[in-house]
Symmetry: D2
């Protein structure tokens, strides 16, 4: 069943300002895209660069004055879903090279602070069972509270205060996965069911394709907010955490005038 996305943003810049825009669904095998795509107001500069891990694209723009972007797309998601609790984790030394840097800590995900916690709380569970336990723990202990976090809120802050929005839920899952020696990244996305409708974010973890600790592995979506169905989640981009996949990162002052997201599926 297709997912239909309509997104509209409007910003004002008071001086010629460079910014990165990343709001298009990624053209990757697991999601077939069709539709008009992105249209935006005139800009002094417009150049595409590959997104992290070549998933999706970022666009460099340079604008002075008002800027609006409209994005309309239909995505057919063809993602293999698994019962993650039955999957093993690959031993670290069996991890594909390109997943290794997702073991490392990042701006909002200080896994180094959580080794004791994850061992104490989830010590018996390994691999996918560990991830399922982390997801359930966050889902069970956190309150989804719009406005409760700010741009500098880390997973440590969220962990202590037990609340946040999708960004914070994803950060905590990523952090605890890394503290468990499991590669984890942050995925910005669109998904039906997000309430209130907005850009969404989930975690993604790299697990073995079976219960064996060697062999091949794959990335799996984890949404501790329980708001998004992985079968209908449309990825925009990935990164170590929110510091790397904002939908708009401005190198100068940017005033948001409007943001409207509609996702149906």
């Amino acid at each position: 069943m297709p997912v239909t996305i309509k997104a509209h943003i409007a910003y004002r810049f008071y001086a010629p300002t460079d910014f990165l825009l990343q709001m298009e669904a990624a053209a990757i095998p697991e999601q077939i895209l069709s539709g008009p795509g992105l249209t935006s107001t005139q800009s002094e500069h417009f150049a595409r660069i590959a997104g992290q891990d070549t998933i999706g694209e970022r666009i460099w723009l340079r604008v002075n004055g008002d800027f609006t972007a409209d994005y309309t797309i239909t995505a057919e998601v063809q993602r293999t879903l698994a019962d993650i609790s039955t999957l093993g984790a690959l031993q670290p030394h069996k991890l594909p090279g390109e997943t290794v840097h997702y073991l490392f800590d990042s701006r909002f995900c200080p896994g180094d602070r959580f080794h004791s916690f994850v061992e104490a709380e989830f010590g018996d569970a390994k691999g996918g069972a560990r991830i399922a336990a982390i997801r359930d723990w966050v889902a069970g202990n956190f309150t989804y509270e719009p406005g409760s976090s700010v741009a500098t809120t880390t997973a440590l802050d969220s962990f202590v205060e037990r609340r946040g929005v999708c960004r914070d839920y994803a950060h905590v899952v990523v952090t605890m996965a890394r503290a468990s020696g499991i590669p984890a990244r942050y995925v910005s996305c669109y998904a039906p069911g997000v309430d209130p409708q907005d850009f969404h974010a989930v975690a993604e973890v790299f697990l073995a394709d079976s219960d064996a600790p060697d062999g091949t592995g794959s990335w799996h979506i984890i949404d501790a907010t329980d708001m998004a169905d992985p079968a209908k989640t449309v990825k925009i981009g990935v990164g170590r955490d929110a510091a790397e996949v904002s939908f708009l990162t401005s190198y100068g002052f940017a005033e948001m005038l409007d943001k409207q997201i509609e996702v149906i599926g």
Copy 2:
């Protein structure tokens, strides 16, 4: 003039443990390597993967019991040095795609907290002049104090306490460069003159090859500790910060028994 490096580390593991080792000089055009290289005790597993930005290599090892590694190499450094204060910064939208993620904040380098500071302190200086001002400010305001920082110390901590070791100096420079819209990364390295002799770390920033804000660009080493000569600094690897280029990252308990570094040049 060649730089001669001898490094020895010894660790003890009390259970079969995976760890990443990154202590070899990187085989890159700017440094010609000769000599015996790395020898280590028997391990259950030994596999090389590419380092970040394909600079250097990381080695996955799996060891139970005692482990020693010895590394001996001679490096001829052929690095083009520039007076960075004369160089411009590329406009963000002119940056090569592969440098863009070095604008983003990382575990130990929260550039988002430093926008006000860098504008207030260095507002008039742009590009390479900004970087030179940052380097001079750190060199002038910090005290090099072995033991004053721990593994979780961030650039924000170091900034407030005005002290640290090479790792902390590099983190502060990286953070302030990013807060200035200039890509910056962390470089682990060997260098003569480091006192006491040890692995060293410096920052690297990406600046325009001229004073024009477009055109091509290059990475330049910045060492605010003033201990290492860029003409004799031998790179091991790069990353967003120390979280990504430790010489040894263990996924389980590791006891350091010995570390001896000798760099002559």
Copy 3:
């Protein structure tokens, strides 16, 4: 010249809730009060307790539903003002016992992190000259920016981000004074000239009454925002920092409906 104060607050409580109210000018020798004082809506409980250092009073209230308080007073301030830059600091061991706890760090004022900074930045200046240098440094390096801080912002956060409101300016001065071995406390107050009009906060430091490091000492108001004239500042209460002298501290959810402050003098 008298200072005339009118303050109005309105809150809503959704269950019987205890809260502390501290919005009356303190009845202390340095300010002569006249006028109707405080009136408030009916409450289940109303009891006065002494404020910190017996400066002013706190009122315990217990309310369910809507609560309003109106306070009208005229204060004649008779405070001895001094050119603090000419005063010495008392040696710690000469400090009166009741000032000693203002040397210790508190929730928002971690002086222990600032020893290096104050020595490096203000090392030559001692006593009142040190305080004057701290005040000028904060005044010169900070931007007054309503909305830039939150309830959990510490002096360390403000120091890094170089901005805040009166609460944050006071916290930074208090912190740097304590890091310099000078007792410092936080004063909530009313003052003409605060823009926009609101409750105000300043720092207070304990200095020698002369340039000698022994003898007697006194508290002196320091306002690094430069908005309030110490000769017209009407004290409400004092504490280690804002955690101890909020105008309203609720033990349960409290919704602010209105707050209007008018101070003329």
Copy 4:
């Protein structure tokens, strides 16, 4: 049964330095003291001031060179012990005025960050039952690990990392009690059974003397480390947290040469 205490400390000062010493058992009704007491090397200055809440005394000293202090005392503890789980908490507005400031957050005890946690984890338990639940939770989830914390470690750090020493255990209990609206303070003390033998620290909370939320109240010792018996714990002093009751607080560099504590009881 008497508790016998022998304590010895030795410090070196490289310049005339003021410091506060607080290592004597407090002369309070609940502990009857006998024995030689404190002897110390000559000092330029020696003056006693009352400790916080007039429990115990602090001594101001001024020393240049080597300083040793020896303290020998026998204490007969006559403290009324209660099963705290049967006691209620006083409603905030029924608290004695002098206990109110122990509701406020302090340097190492940021209760404001823990409101969600304590409600979620201990929501059903009130008063003494809440305190018992907090004590059991800390005892059950923390690892006592000498060397795992530093002077700037807060209760938030300890909570995340789930480990610490007596100081950290006490800070976490104090923080969670305050987040629950229950006054809590930090107590430095001597106690038999502390392993390794050292100065000790516990929390103290103010609860109702019955299960009713009004009436009178008393302070009760809580030791989540389970190392000390409240019936044999000899108090030195109290404060909001460790920032206020160090056994030695120096206003200048102090080198510790020796510390030996022996407590038998």
